[in-house]
């Protein structure tokens, strides 16, 4: 189990982006330095008991200072400095995220991070090295889990490509941050306001079709339908596929057993905890029957 830190930390910035998305910057050096790509944090709103539980949020980025993410690619002189800022990219969907959006610099939140196993648990990294290309597939706020993996792959010299879908162009936040790390970006919107009109799994299917014979690894984070569609495509073409799963979380620490989903082919019993054995699972182990994946 990697080291994890649970502390009260200060907000340094909370920047509104398009489509009800925000980028929250927290001064959390210990959490930032310990985070591996695909891990998440639990965020607590302090001083109130009506929103009781902490909210799970992927670690979007870690950086030495709180510069705009646009500049995050050209790290240059700063690259050797230890990160002090941990960033979360989130979307307002309910009470907790609405309250997060009201945070201002100087406010504090509770932050437990890093949590879970990311995309580069040992066996997964091996898988990535063997692939010709890693396909990062995401929809909506799932993008938040993929920036650090994209960077890690670039650093390791592994080619990657981003497939990113949303309902409308305002959902396609953070694309610029990926530009320096990935070999290509394919966008899709359901309303056609940007990129391919429809689901991003459609251009993904075409891409896999056109490059039969190559060996891909898929890293997917997004809504359930997209996870399943991606997993099916991967399976059909014989590629490995890693999916970052979501579930309601009571603790994020592995003790409440509230986040369990049914997973096959593992030694740890029928149910596994998204917060501890996940959130990244091998898509082959996930049982894709609807009733096993909660509509949360």
């Amino acid at each position: 189990m990697t080291r994890m830190y649970d502390e009260i930390v200060a907000v340094t910035e909370n920047r509104p982006l398009t489509g009800g998305h925000f980028l929250l910057s927290l001064r959390a050096p210990r959490q930032a330095q310990a985070t591996r790509p695909g891990q998440f944090a639990m965020v607590r709103l302090l001083g109130r008991s009506d929103v009781l539980l902490r909210r799970p949020m992927s670690v979007y980025d870690v950086s030495p200072t709180t510069r705009p993410p646009r500049a995050a690619g050209k790290r240059g002189a700063n690259a050797h400095r230890q990160p002090e800022i941990l960033q979360l990219l989130y979307k307002i969907v309910g009470r907790g995220t609405r309250l997060m959006a009201e945070l201002r610099p100087g406010d504090s939140v509770g932050l437990a991070a890093p949590l879970g196993h990311g995309f580069f648990a040992e066996e997964y990294l091996e898988e990535a090295r063997r692939a010709d290309e890693v396909l990062l597939v995401t929809g909506g706020i799932g993008i938040a889990a993929l920036l650090l993996p994209a960077r890690e792959l670039a650093t390791a010299g592994i080619k990657s490509r981003l497939f990113f879908g949303g309902r409308t162009r305002a959902d396609l936040v953070g694309v610029q941050d990926f530009e320096s790390s990935v070999a290509g970006i394919t966008l899709a919107t359901e309303d056609g306001s940007k990129g391919h009109r429809g689901y991003v799994t459609e251009p993904l299917a075409n891409y896999l079709e056109r490059h039969r014979g190559r060996k891909f690894l898929l890293m997917v984070c997004g809504p359930w339908g997209m996870l399943r569609a991606s997993a099916e495509l991967a399976k059909r073409h014989g590629h490995a596929c890693l999916v970052s799963m979501e579930n309601r979380m009571g603790c994020g620490l592995g003790v409440c057993l509230g986040c369990s989903i049914r997973v096959e082919g593992t030694g740890h019993g029928a149910y596994e905890r998204v917060c501890t054995e996940g959130p990244v699972f091998n898509a082959e182990h996930v049982i894709w029957a609807r009733e096993e994946i909660p509509k949360i």
Binding site: R44, L52, L257, G258, A270, E292
Partner: protein
């Protein structure tokens, strides 16, 4: 154990008073009256990276049954106003694996280990206890009787005095360690159940377990938790839990351990003043893992400032003579 009050009162107000906050329950000594509640602290190890477990009075581990159980399908939890619903379905590794895999870590701690036990028949309970009897490092058992008895047509053990007495008596005979009984709050008269458990041999009573509640997704018109109903815990339930602890402490002679929505030392002191010899922290562990340690420190500081030992505080509530009926 405690210095007599008269003596303490003679110590000049300026000198630091060092309160005794240890407590003895069912023959076991606890360094302080703060335990973590079953199902909210895993098997202890999960929190080792977060807090110093040796500072806790005790750890009550997740409910253990004779055989492993896989639990309910998701979703299993839902947040409510100042509370949460859970229907985990008592997922656990089973008594044997618990003894082999989880107990060694707990044994290494100075903190007391209480094992929460449940089953669907009285024989289940007895079997689990028999397996656990062989494990070393367990200080007491805590019987979770909020389960439906599959033989008695799904009637919940803890909601029926007769079933309560039956399972407690059988467990007591089997147990080679002190037996605590954890009461269900979903009853008309908690004192009736408390007395049934006490008469059947309980060495201490812990209360409360969760309140049966529910939430509905109005978009899909389906229950928010797959099990339909689920247990409510957290600050929302504190007033009712406190009332039940107050009533029970006055109805039985065995020690009472208070649980329900405790999130601060002030909350814990309310339970202790109402009659609890110790308290357990549940849901608060999820969102503030340092709660139990803050409660220990807060109780110590409060006792110091009041120049009282814990034993002076337990059940020290003063009821004004004007207070008439126990019902609002």
């Amino acid at each position: 154990m405690a210095a007599p009050i008269a003596e303490r009162e003679r110590t000049p107000a300026g000198t630091e008073f060092n309160p005794q906050i240890g407590v003895e329950i069912s023959g076991i000594h606890f360094a302080n009256p703060v335990l973590t509640a079953s199902g909210t602290f895993g098997y202890g190890q999960e929190f080792a990276r977060l807090i110093d477990l040796n500072q806790l009075g005790g750890i009550v581990v997740k409910g253990i049954s004779a055989e492993p159980m896989e639990g309910n399908p998701p979703p299993r939890i839902y947040e409510t106003e100042a509370g949460m619903l859970n229907a985990i379905g008592l997922q656990n590794v089973g008594a044997r694996r618990f003894v082999e895999e989880k107990l060694p870590f707990l044994r290494g701690l100075r903190t007391r280990t209480i094992v929460n036990v449940f089953g669907y028949t009285t024989e289940d309970y007895v079997r689990a206890i028999e397996i656990l009897n062989d494990g070393s490092g367990i200080d007491a058992y805590e019987l979770n009787i909020s389960c439906p008895n599959t033989r008695a047509g799904g009637m919940v053990y803890g909601n029926d005095p007769r079933l309560t007495a039956e399972v407690v008596a059988a467990s007591k005979r089997a147990a080679r360690r002190p037996l605590w009984v954890k009461l269900s709050p979903n009853v008309t008269d908690i004192t009736e159940l408390a007395r049934a458990a006490e008469s059947a041999g309980a060495d201490a009573l812990t209360l409360v377990n969760t309140f049966v509640g529910m939430a509905i997704d109005i978009e899909t018109r389906t229950p928010r938790v797959s099990n339909v109903t689920a247990g409510l815990s957290g600050p929302a339930i504190k007033p009712v839990a406190l009332r039940m602890v107050y009533q029970t402490a006055r109805a039985v002679r065995v020690p009472v351990i208070g649980i329900g929505g405790i999130a601060s030392a002030e909350d814990a002191l309310e339970f202790i003043i109402a009659g609890a010899s110790a308290v357990q922290i549940g849901t608060a562990n999820f969102y503030a893992p340092d709660t139990a340690l803050r409660v220990v420190e807060g109780i110590r500081a409060w006792c110091r400032s009041k120049r009282l030992n814990l034993s002076d505080v337990v059940g020290s509530i003063k009821i004004p003579p004007s207070a008439a009926s126990p019902v609002s």
